[in-house]
């Protein structure tokens, strides 16, 4: 191609890239919801688990601790923070212990007669009132007098205190200086955000708001504010992943550029060979913006990593250039093999699509589109741009020596048998469980953050996160009724110390039926006034003192029963709303459990209830989720493997040659698995993903080593290309292996090991050149 048309092609290509870039910038919406990288739930329990993990009130809770100053100062800071955040729209609840959790909203106070169990057993008659008033008189002469002096005129029977006792959490932190303190002398706060827990963007805003409010407080300079909770974690994960990916990306890019310059000694080749990759990335993102409403940030991060395979295509072309030969010709000779490699990689990545996990599906679309674009642009566009004159790498002295060494390597037929035996042995004696089923292990969270969270949760008396008692009924009221009938059995369990506490929805709100029954028992104004006057005979109380009480009872007689919807405006109502969930035309009540000592007894609550009451083990549900997920990936991989064998056999038109390609690849894959298992690593889904990537790279090595041209120079070029590919892969993934984020590390380590094993085994198991010639 002449210089001018070359220039035009380059400009058109660049313009096309700019167009794609513009389209992407207009359409790309990055999502950060980490759940798209979790397996899709299939059973009702799993779905409940995912909801609780994402939007449930628990996931919107931020746990705050303030430390590093004397108690009074910490308490002042805690109070100041609550005052600053209270009316902020980003937070639905801010509490620090300086409140009566049991306190009813003033507007709901008359409801106390419908909510408190008193009327179930005790009418508001003269006998009861005189007994109560006598007790109040005793109270007034006791040290507790100032506690109830204000309450007395409105609530002489202390229903509000009975409700407070009923609603008091089983365990709450120590209150010092009027606010919560942990045993480690930190002031503790709970903040519930309006935003969902796994929406790191909105969580970031909420967290920034808290930090700003804190730093604006006088005296906050010396004190330390620490956060925890799912929302905070999602922000930290996002920031950490971005930070590490940037850092690793920069270092490996520099290394990569240096490597290619060293290998090809040509700037223009280097710059031009970046075009297919750039096209691949942009086309991949563009495809995502068309196929999905939003693109996950992790998809892009992992996607560009996986696109590393595509970097091989231009490298192969560059290494296989011959002196004086047109680049188009070199590519034409390579193309059948390159096409096989592209097709195989695409098949392997299809397995991600079959996993059913949204994030992995996106990853599959991105990488497959990217690989195809990179491959075809390498074949049909790049060669027309490459400089005509190149140095033939086949003439390099070190390469000749290297090829000589490789050719003389012994390639005994027993090598595959030996390696296979070693793999079986290592897998057999490897320590620990084979699979990592813990969903938490997939969440890239540092251990110390989890420990800090566990400590705060324990101090704040947050319920056990493992078990939930599920109550199911056709209606909301049905759930509450079920909860009411269950309460005596639950009380018995708590008395037997099978559990420390079990918090049922009806604890916060009785059924409408029960409220109406209580309402019926309230005396009318005249009757109550008469009873009260009689009871007051001979008592020192001021005559008109109890008018507010009479008024409240009169109001309570007319009230519509309290429903969860009406209740929802108050903090307690929100707590109730968190435990009532509508699902598929029925309602679920969630009973939170703390301090489980006897799971069997707890599970027995569900006996003979036809499944309307059951104990949900969130850990078991999450593990079953992971097992399902893995089974599906493994099935998809099996299908992909069969397809791969067929594709390679068809492309090479020989089962024997296919064996030479597939055997080293398969052995190397299992060898990585065996070595990681021997190192005590439990295999997670991310290891599987990384094994697939390494397999794709290994396939290239085997394909090219197997290719027998009978031309020693061409074989030297093959070796050159493969060495450059191996070194660049080791560079990029070796860097990833240094990451502190478990997922990145799992991928980095697995791919690095894989690349090394694939390289060695494809050399050792390649058909011997001389043998082939015989």
């Amino acid at each position: 191609m002449r210089g001018r048309s070359r220039g035009i092609l380059l400009v058109v290509w660049l313009l096309a890239l700019a167009g794609l870039g513009w389209m992407v910038s207009q359409r790309l919406k990055i999502s950060t919801d980490l759940r798209s990288f979790m397996p899709a739930p299939t059973t009702p329990d799993q779905r409940l688990l995912m909801e609780q993990v994402g939007d449930g009130p628990g996931s919107r809770l931020l746990l705050l601790s303030i430390s590093g100053a004397p108690d009074p100062q910490l308490a002042t800071l805690s109070q100041g923070l609550v005052a600053a955040l209270k009316h902020d729209k980003r937070y639905s609840q801010v509490i620090n212990g300086n409140f009566d959790l049991g306190a009813l909203d003033t507007s709901l106070l008359p409801y106390r007669y419908l909510l408190s169990p008193t009327l179930d057993t005790q009418p508001l008659d003269q006998a009861y009132l005189s007994d109560q008033l006598q007790q109040r008189l005793d109270d007034l002469s006791s040290p507790a007098a100032s506690l109830l002096k204000g309450l007395l005129p409105r609530d002489p029977t202390l229903e509000t205190l009975k409700l407070a006792e009923l609603w008091a959490p089983a365990k709450s932190p120590e209150v010092r200086e009027g606010v919560w303190f942990s045993p480690q002398d930190e002031a503790l706060l709970l903040v519930q955000t309006v935003a969902a827990g796994f929406d790191p963007g909105a969580q970031q805003q909420a967290i920034d708001g808290i930090r700003q409010a804190f730093h604006a407080l006088p005296g906050s300079a010396g004190a330390k504010l620490e956060l925890s909770g799912p929302g905070y974690f999602s922000v930290v994960i996002g920031a950490q992943t971005r930070h590490q990916a940037d850092w690793i990306g920069r270092v490996s890019t520099i290394g990569f550029v240096a490597l290619l310059l060293l290998a090809y000694r040509s700037f223009s080749s280097l710059l031009l060979s970046a075009l297919p990759i750039a096209s691949a990335g942009l086309a991949g993102i563009a495809a995502l913006t068309v196929a999905f409403p939003d693109v996950h940030g992790l998809t892009l991060a992992f996607g560009f990593t996986l696109l590393g395979v595509a970097q091989e295509y231009p490298i192969r072309v560059l290494s296989h250039r011959r002196a004086g030969e047109d680049a188009v010709q070199s590519v034409r000779a390579l193309w059948p093999l390159l096409l096989t490699a592209i097709a195989s990689a695409c098949i392997a990545y299809l397995a991600f699509y079959a996993s059913g996990v949204n994030g992995l599906k996106q990853l599959a679309v991105f990488t497959i589109v990217g690989l195809l674009v990179a491959g075809f642009s390498t074949r049909y566009l790049l060669p027309h741009l490459l400089p005509r004159r190149v140095r033939d790498v086949a003439d390099m002295r070190w390469l000749m020596r290297a090829r000589h060494v490789v050719d003389r390597l012994p390639r005994p037929r027993w090598i595959p048998v030996l390696v296979a035996a070693a793999i079986v042995l290592m897998l057999a004696i490897a320590p620990g469980p084979f699979w990592q089923n813990n969903l938490a292990a997939l969440t890239p969270l540092p251990q110390d953050m989890l420990l800090h969270d566990a400590r705060l949760r324990e101090a704040l008396g947050a319920p056990d996160v493992r078990y939930l008692l599920i109550l199911q009924a056709p209606t909301e009221q049905g759930v509450l009724a079920l909860s009411e009938t269950l309460q005596p059995k639950v009380d018995a369990l708590v008395a037997k110390h099978a559990v420390d506490a079990l918090d049922l929805p009806s604890r916060y709100l009785p059924t409408v039926a029960l409220q109406l029954a209580r309402q019926k028992k309230l005396p009318d104004q005249a009757t109550l006034r008469h009873a009260l006057d009689e009871a007051l005979q001979g008592m020192p109380f001021r005559a008109d003192l109890f008018q507010p009480f009479l008024d409240d009872v009169a109001v309570a007689r007319q009230l519509p029963p309290l429903t969860p919807a009406r209740y929802a405006q108050s903090p307690l109502g929100q707590r109730l709303a968190a435990t009532l969930v509508q699902r598929d035309g029925h309602w679920l009540g969630l009973g939170t459990v703390s301090g489980v000592h006897d799971v069997t007894a707890l599970r027995a609550l569900g006996e003979n209830t036809n499944g309307t009451v059951r104990l949900l083990d969130l850990k078991a549900a999450s593990e079953s989720l992971v097992v399902d997920y893995r089974t599906r990936i493994l099935q998809a991989l099996l299908a992909a493997a069969v397809l791969l064998v067929l594709t390679i056999s068809f492309a090479l038109r020989s089962v024997r040659r296919a064996w030479h390609v597939l055997a080293p690849m398969t052995l190397a894959t299992f060898l990585v698995l065996a070595v990681e298992r021997m190192a005590g690593i439990e295999i997670s889904l991310f290891h599987l993903v990384a094994l697939i990537l390494a397999g794709g790279l290994g396939l290239h090595y085997a394909l090219f080593f197997e290719r027998d041209t009978g031309d020693p120079a061409e074989q030297r070029r093959t070796l050159h290309a493969t060495i450059v590919c191996v070194l660049s892969a080791l560079l990029v993934f070796g860097m990833l292996a240094w990451a502190t984020i478990p997922v990145l590390r799992a991928i980095g380590l697995t791919v690095s090991l894989g690349v090394a094993f694939h390289f060695c085994l494809s050399i050792l198991m390649a058909p011997h050149t001389h043998v082939a010639e015989d």
Partner: protein, 208 residues
């Protein structure tokens, strides 16, 4: 007599706020080794009531921050303050617990009583603004105003009156106007059946 002493008081507290050293001397002189017990009779004048509530029993400082208030009449009841928690026990009922933080009245009682009974002037001055009239040789008055703004919202002031080494009366003035008067020691037996504020004040000052 009241008319005579009141102006005197007022002028005394206004004109000569006690020097810290003399308050130290007085309070130190009042100290007893733990456990210290004293009989008390208490009258509460409250807005919610037409007539005052009267109880009597024994106050004990058990050492440290442990204080016990035992009521014998009209109904047996014991309140114990220990480790920031109040335990209230009444015959035939299960004990009630609440945090000291929720009962500023008790916090004040604890601070003032323990300090007085232990003779710890420093502690007293940590919790209160202390004003003194008279001294250990004769009749004296300690007027304590809580320094903690939150406590002051409930308890306006405490006045302790005494003669030589003996505390005779304690007046707890609440911010809402309610008043509690405790007659201490030998004076406890002289609580009238129908006490009035003025009558009790006179009784306190009547050292004969």
């Amino acid at each position: 007599m009241l008319s005579l002493t009141l102006p005197l008081w007022a002028s005394a507290s206004a004109s000569e706020p006690a020097a810290p050293s003399s308050a130290h001397t007085l309070i130190a002189a009042l100290g007893h080794p733990a456990p210290a017990h004293t009989a008390f009779a208490e009258a509460r004048f409250m807005q919610v009531l037409d007539r005052p509530l009267v109880v009597s029993g024994e106050l004990s400082w058990l050492g440290g921050d442990k204080l016990q208030r035992r009521v014998d009449k009209p109904q047996a009841e014991t309140a114990t303050i220990a480790d920031g928690e109040v335990t209230q026990e009444r015959v035939g009922k299960s004990p009630r617990h609440f945090s000291l933080k929720r009962a500023p009245q008790l916090q004040v009682l604890l601070d003032s009583f323990v300090a007085l009974l232990s003779g710890d002037a420093g502690r007293l001055q940590q919790a209160f603004d202390v004003r003194q009239t008279g001294d250990i040789d004769g009749a004296w008055t300690l007027m304590l105003t809580p320094l903690d703004a939150r406590v002051a919202k409930t308890i306006a002031s405490i006045t302790v009156e005494g003669n030589t080494k003996e505390s005779r009366c304690m007046f707890m003035q609440e911010a809402d106007g309610d008043l509690t008067i405790d007659l201490l020691g030998v004076l406890a037996s002289r609580m009238p059946a129908a006490p009035t504020r003025e009558g009790l004040q006179a009784l306190c000052r009547d050292t004969h």
